[in-house]
Symmetry: C2
Subunit: 256 residues, 2 copies
């Protein structure tokens, strides 16, 4: 059970626990990744269940980097990533879950969402495109939708990459000066930093309303990239261990 | 409000009311179709809402004929029909609503479902592929799904084409002898006729559990094709009148 503060973003840590050191954690993450390779192969071979990994976080929380760090090395035949952009005209002419449902993993697959259906109760709300009442209605639809997925054998893992207001401001500033990061800079990035408190509120509302026991939000301390990767890799590994996917029996008799 | 017998298929009529005569009804249906042409054009031009028409019925209840009679003459640019067949391997590797959601009408469109997501709580149940418990779970998912559609501006109309056990048997027999109907004959059609009572039970359960006030099942007396077409055309016309779609204002100033 979650404590009342579990989803208070001003209280949830953005940094690793005190006793957690970088070098041993990096080594541990590497070990976990080796195990993930094996578990993913079994999931694919079994071809009976699937995993959906939802990644959310404010701008510059490091979603792209996390995907690179955790999922590189897995067999891309069994792992796909879908990045949700602003909806197209065609997508806007349907209900908000239409384009999301289309991207669901088939049996055997791990699907990673870089942003997700939650944008439709986050950015839309901060920008006043939907009312609070509409947001509540969407929470119910999201919960029903995720239950549908789970009933069909999809494990749903939801991670919020939690960066502090200061860390976000620092990272957005780097986009202006670092040649390797400039391509990510967008006009308005400075304004986004100012919206941290507004996003905090709508995120907290999401965590409270869309965390059923079967697929609660996991808040990932993300000011340090090495800890963030470790946290998510471990959670994914644990979920896959729990599924315990098995190679199916051979369809052919063994030659004697 | 529905009376307790409203969904009792042994009591719901399969034929037109006594005072309803064929010739005037055919003329009336033709008038309704003219109105549908105009209403559909407005819906399309308005480009803000949509309509989903779900057609279910036992084998030989006349779904294909109904579609031909009611929807021919409408502009096919604004009306599409999707016939659901047995799910493919790819579809079976997802939740049961995945392939259905993909076929949702975009704004401005009328989408007709020849069979639908309800097959997943009908044929699957009669054939013992899903348990009663799973069926109940699916009812809840279907209701949540249809509410999602309605919240996004889709009017959902659900018609059950109700033929009597005798009429069904007669029609299935015709498939063997009538050259224009032989292509519809399938091995096992005789067995299907024997399943009428089993289908009756699972259909009644669907009507009871999936008839919220916003989109209840409408049971269409369907032993006479002319009455069936009139009933559905009228219900569709009434729904479109209620939507009262409007041509959008011109984007250009009128030349003076």
């Amino acid at each position: 059970m979650k404590t009342p503060d579990a989803y208070d973003l001003l209280k949830v840590p953005t940094r690793s626990p005190k006793d957690c050191r970088k070098e041993p954690t990096l080594r541990e993450t590497e070990k976990i990744r080796q195990e993930l390779v094996e578990l993913q192969e079994r999931l694919y071979a079994e071809n009976r269940r699937s995993v959906l990994v939802v990644l959310q976080g404010m701008d510059a929380s490091g979603k792209d980097g996390l995907i690179r760090k955790v999922f590189s090395g897995l067999n891309p035949q069994g792992v796909t990533v879908h990045a949700f952009k602003e909806p197209t005209d065609e997508e806007l002419a349907h209900d908000f879950l239409w384009r999301v449902h289309a991207q669901m993993p088939r049996h055997g697959m791990i699907q990673v969402f870089n942003r997700s259906h939650y944008e439709d109760v986050l950015v839309t709300r901060v920008n006043g495109i939907i009312t609070d009442k509409e947001a509540k209605r969407r929470f119910a639809h999201i919960n029903a939708f995720e239950q549908l997925l789970q009933d069909a054998g999809t494990t749903v893992l939801k991670f919020y990459l939690h960066v502090s207001e200061e860390e976000q401001r620092k990272r957005l500033a780097e986009r202006i000066n670092d040649p390797a990061k400039q391509w990510k800079y967008e006009a308005g990035d400075e304004d986004k930093a100012k919206q941290w408190p507004q996003y905090r509120e709508v995120y907290e509302d999401v965590f409270k309303h869309c965390s059923p026991e079967s697929c609660p939000w996991q808040l990932v301390p993300s000011d340090q990239n090495w800890y963030k990767a470790y946290f998510v890799a471990q959670a994914l590994r644990d979920a896959l261990r729990k599924l315990d996917p098995q190679f199916p029996p051979s369809k052919h008799e063994r030659p004697s």
